[in-house]
C-alpha cells in the first residue's frame, strides 16, 4: 500500500447539477382547525442532489410556514424525520428527490400506526414506551471490574448490527401487525432487545426473552419483511427478530 504516491485516478469532474420542477402532495392535518386530513399540492424547484427534506424546507421556508414536520441532523443519524414517501417509510433527509420518480407528484404522509399530532408529526410516546419496556440497558451483577470488561471483537460483532438503531420508527410503523394490533412491541423494540440479549456482557437476557415471549411479544411477527426494507440504517431487522425467536425456543443466546 503506497500511501504517498499521487492518486492515479482522474480528478472527479462533477457535472453541472440540473434543476427541475416537482410536485409534492402532502397530507395535511391540524386538529386545531381541521376535522380530518386533506392533501395539498406544492410545486417546488429542486436541484438534482436535493433531498426530500430540502423540498419540504423550501415549502416551509418560502411558501407555507405552517407545514409541520420534525427534523434535526439532516443526514440520517438522528431519526427525526421518518415519513411515508410514495407509500414507503423513508427518512426525508436520506431520500434524494431524483430517486423517487420526480415526474409524478410525490406523496408525503405521516408514518402509520401512531396518532397524528399535526401534518407529518406523530405521537412518538407509544413507540418509546415499547422500547422502554424491553429493558434497553446493560444489566450486570457482581463485582465491577476496575478496568473495562473484556469482550472479544467477535462477541461484539454478534450484536453490532442492532447497535446502529436510531429509533426512527420507520420499521415499526411499516409493520402491518403493528397497525392492526396496538399491543405489539414492534420491530424497533425487538431490535433493541436483541442488542442486549446478544451482548456477552449482559446478564438479563432471560428476563428480556420472558418479556418478549409474552402474548404481545415477538410471536406476533409474521415475517412480512417490511421492517428490513424500511430501515434507513440497513439493519437486518427481520433477521434480528428471527434470532430472538430462536433464542426464546432454545433458551440460549
Amino acid at each position: 500500500m503506497s500511501v504517498d504516491a499521487p492518486s492515479k485516478k482522474p480528478i472527479a469532474e462533477a457535472v453541472e447539477v440540473p434543476t427541475f420542477q416537482i410536485t409534492l402532495r402532502i397530507e395535511r392535518y391540524n386538529p386545531e382547525f381541521d376535522t380530518e386530513s386533506h392533501y395539498e399540492d406544492y410545486e417546488v424547484t429542486v436541484h438534482g442532489t436535493d433531498r426530500v427534506l430540502d423540498a419540504l424546507h423550501t415549502i416551509k421556508w418560502d411558501m407555507d410556514g405552517s407545514l409541520s414536520f420534525r427534523r434535526s441532523c439532516a443526514h440520517g443519524v438522528c431519526g427525526s424525520d421518518a415519513m411515508r414517501i410514495n407509500g414507503k417509510n423513508r427518512l426525508a433527509c436520506k431520500t434524494l428527490v431524483k430517486d423517487v420518480n420526480p415526474d409524478k407528484p410525490i406523496t408525503i404522509e405521516p408514518i402509520k400506526g401512531l396518532p397524528v399530532e399535526k401534518d407529518l408529526i406523530v405521537d412518538m410516546e407509544p413507540f418509546f414506551d415499547s422500547y422502554r419496556e424491553i429493558m434497553p440497558f446493560l444489566v450486570t451483577t457482581g463485582h465491577e471490574p476496575t478496568h473495562e470488561r473484556i469482550q472479544s471483537q467477535a462477541d461484539k460483532d454478534r450484536f453490532d448490527d442492532t447497535t446502529k438503531c436510531i429509533l426512527c420508527a420507520a420499521c415499526t410503523s411499516s409493520c402491518p401487525v403493528f397497525w392492526n394490533d396496538g399491543q405489539y412491541f414492534g420491530p424497533a423494540a425487538i431490535v433493541n432487545a436483541h442488542r442486549f440479549i446478544f451482548d456477552s456482557r449482559d446478564e438479563a437476557g432471560d428476563q428480556r426473552l420472558q418479556i418478549l415471549n409474552d402474548k404481545e411479544g415477538v410471536w406476533r411477527c409474521r415475517t412480512v419483511f417490511n421492517c428490513t426494507e424500511a430501515c434507513p440504517r440497513g439493519i437486518e431487522v427481520t433477521k434480528a427478530i428471527a434470532e430472538v425467536k430462536r433464542a426464546i425456543i432454545t433458551r440460549r443466546v
Binding site: 500500500m1 503506497s2 500511501v3 499521487p6 492518486s7 485516478k9 480528478i11 472527479a12 469532474e13 462533477a14 457535472v15 453541472e16 391540524n30 386545531e32 382547525f33 442532489t49 433531498r51 416551509k60 421556508w61 418560502d62 410556514g65 405552517s66 409541520s68 427534523r71 434535526s72 441532523c73 439532516a74 443526514h75 440520517g76 443519524v77 438522528c78 431519526g79 427525526s80 436520506k94 434524494l96 399530532e117 399535526k118 412518538m124 418509546f128 434497553p136 440497558f137 446493560l138 450486570t140 478496568h147 473495562e148 470488561r149 473484556i150 469482550q151 472479544s152 471483537q153 462477541d155 461484539k156 450484536f159 453490532d160 447497535t163 438503531c165 436510531i166 429509533l167 442486549f196 449482559d202
Partner: protein, 595 residues
Amino acid sequence: MQTHQYDVVIVGAGGAGMRAALESSGRARTAVLTKLYPTRSHTGAAQGGMCAALSNVEEDNWEWHTFDTVKGGDYIVDQDAAEIMCREAIKAVIDLEKMGLPFNRTPEGRIDQRRFGGHTRNHGEAAVRRSCYAADRTGHMILQTLYQNCVKQGVEFYNEFYVLDLVLAESEAHGGEPAVAGVIAYELATGEIHSFRAKAVVLATGGAGKVFKTTSNAHTLTGDGMGIAFRRGLPLEDLEFFQFHPTGLAGLGILLSEAARGEGGILRNSEGERFMERYAPTIKDLAPRDIVARSMANEVREGRGCGPNRDYVLLDLTHLEPAHIDAKLPDITEFARTYLGVEPYTEPIPVYPTAHYAMGGVPTNTDAEVLRNNTETVPGLYAAGEVACVSVHGANRLGTNSLLDINVFGRRAGIAAAKFAQDAPWVEMPGSPEQHTLNLLEDIRGRAQGERVADLRRTLQETMDRDVQVFRTEESMTEALEVVQQLKERYQHVVVQDKGKRYNLDLLEAVELGFLIELAEVVVLGALARKESRGGHFREDFTKRDDENFMVHTMAYRTPLGANEQRGVSIFTDKVRLDYKPVNVTRYQPMERKY
C-alpha cells in the same frame, strides 16, 4: 401557565445533559428539559472517537494528552481545566464501557484506540493511538448508552420543551447577588408556557453552528443556551473561536470524520498532490483542524481546487482496502455515496471546510459553575458541553476532545448542581417571570406582515460564510457587522405564517433566529477586536499570534434585558462590551505551534 418545582433542572439532553442527569438524578430531584427527544441530539452525529490515554495499544499518558490539548488550542487553553479533563478521561471512557457502550476491541478484547489529529506521543514526537471509538458512530453510541442508562435510572424528561429564558433573582441568601430561580419553557405540542422553579440549573444546549451556512451542525443547533444567558447579562467567552472542520462533503457541509485520515486517508489537490506535506511536514494530513482547513482553502484560492468550479479538494481513500473501510468507516463512506453519488472505494471524495464547533460559550470554572464576570459565579447556575467554555479547547479544539468534554464536565456539572441543591435555600421567583417569553412570542406571532424568517437567516448565514470563515480581515468583518446590525433591525419585523398553538415550529424558528443573530454579532465583534491569528481565528491582516496583547480570553457582555420590558421593544442591545480574562497557565509556556 403551568408551574413545576425541581431541585435541579437540566436544559438539554445531549451527551452533556444526560451525563449530568445520571449524576444529579440519584442525588436530587431532577428534570431534564429538551427541545428534541434525547436520542435526536447532535451528540449522536459524532463519528470519530473520544480520546483518553488508556495505553491499550501503545504507551501513552494523560500528561501528553494535556500538552496536546494546550498546544492544539494555541495556548489559550486554561491549563488547569485541560489537566482535569485529560486525567479524568480515562475514568470517563471506562464508565461508558461499564454502562454498556460497545467500543471496538483489540485482539485481547480491550478497548481499541486509533490515531486522531493533533494527538501525539511525548509532546509531539509522532502520532499516538489515543482515540477510543465505536466504528465511525462513537457519538451515536455515547448518546444511546447515556439514554439507556437514563431509562434504567428513571430520569424524568420533558421532551420537546424549549427553554426560552433563564430566571435570575437577587437573593438575600446569596448576599444580594443574582442567583438562579428557575427557567421558562415552551411546550411544543401545546404552545403552553411552563415555569420551572429550581435551585440549580444546568445549561447543556450544545452548539451554535447554524450561525454559518455550511456546517456539520444540525438545524436545531442555534445557540439557545448561550443566547439566553447573554440576554440576562451573563458574559460569553471566546465566541470568535469557531472551528471549521476540514472535511465536510463539498457543498453540503455534512461531516466526514477525521477518522478517515486517521485510518490513512489523504487530501489531494487538483494535481493529485498530497499538499499537506508542504504545510505540516511531520504529521501531514493529521495536523490540527485549523491548519488543515486553512491549507485546503489556500489550495483552492491558489487555483489548485477540483471540480467544475475548482472549489474543493479531494479526500482519497482509494488506496485503503474496501474491507478496512467497511469495518472502520462505514457511515461516512455511505454519506459520500448517498449525498454525492461518489464511491469511496474507487473515487476520491470532494471535501471543503465546514463550520463545526464553537470553542467559546458560557464561561465556567472547572466545577462547571457559570461565571458572571472574571471571578464571581452565579449561585445555582452550571453549564457543560458545547454551550460552555471552561476553556479546554482554547482557540482550536482537538478532535475527540468534545465527546470527552461532555462526559467529564457533564458529570462534574451534575454532581456540583445536585450538591448545591441539597444545601442551598430556594430563591424566590420574581412576579410574572414568564413575561419576557410571552412578549417575545406574541410580538412575533401577532405580526400580520413583515419579513420571512428564512430570508433573514439566509442573509445571516451567507454573510458569515463569506466574511467570517477560515480567512478573516478587518474589511470583511466590518462588512459582516453591518449586515448583522441591519438584521437586528429587520428582526423587529419578522413574521410567521403559523399562528396556531400546536407544534408551531414556524414560531420557534423565528425565536432561534433571534439567538443566531445575537451570537453572530458577538462572534464578529470578538474577531474584529482580536488583531492576531490564533487557532481557528485567522486574520489575513494580522497573520501572527500575538501573546503580548492577546493571550487573554474575550468576555463579551450586553446590557441585560429589563425585568419588565414592554412588548414591541427590540430584544437586542446596541451595546456589546468586550472585556478580557487572563488565561490559566500552569506548566506549558506558549511556544510556536509547529507540526
